[in-house]
Amino acid sequence: MKRKTFAASVLFAIIPAFAHHSFAMFELTKDVTYEGTVVDYRWENPHTHIIVKVESDAADKSTVGTWDIEGGATNIMGRQGWNRATFKPGDHVKIVAHPMKDGTKGASLFYAVLPDGKRLYHDIARPKGEGSSNP
């Protein structure tokens, strides 16, 4: 019985991380806010991509430029409430993401803040204290 519970917990620990590739190339402890305009919204597999242009008047100067924000597969994102029409080029967006370790202008999506303040997450990962469906 104990062994079964252990196996189940291992399985559940693996599920959120099961993706096209691991998150090793991203600085996961760093949450950076990218606020700008959607250049391209690619609803596709193995990863969705949101290309965001941050103008030079941004609050965080280190975020100025065009960023490739990578999300999950369409299945994973769909379960969090995303769809192919969530964004379109020209939309204003505010995205919190984990930047690439090597400094290239890419990041792993954490969540997007919608105009009404609602958050759309990458997957079931939530900041501490904010209840997630899986413990």
Binding site: H21, W43, E44, N45, A73, T74, R84, T104
Partner: protein
Amino acid sequence: MYVVELCHWLQNTPFATGLRQSDLLFPLIEGSHILALSVSVGLIITLDLRLLRLALCGEPVSRVMHQVMPWALPGFAVMFVTGLLLFVAQAEKVYTNTFFRYKVLFLVIAGFNALYYQMKFYPKMAEWDLAPAIPAGAKLTAAISLVLWAAIIALGRTMAYEL
């Protein structure tokens, strides 16, 4: 330059875009590619280990080969077709990926390696089928095959680690 343009066109055909945007087809193709790989490469490894006298040593090589091939070849076919579809879906992105280029190079070498075995050693198999000493050349092709397939799988996996 021309190939990049061709890949750009391929990736943007309705077929490729449809594959990329499908919730069902893409994971199905991706999953089948890996499962077919385990069947075909798993069995190729079995034959290679027999040639190196590291496994199934009591069995004639011909017998191992004739048991393994009816599964390894269809497995390879599924792996190849699904791999082709995965390439079509992301042609432009994948073409410029260094790991992908090495993977294709190693696949081609693995192909020639298998062809060499098939032409040089397979026709005379009856002579060394149960012999304790397998021709050194046949052993070498088996060792090369093991190394190449390990590299191909590792490269295939590493390809994903580029935005």
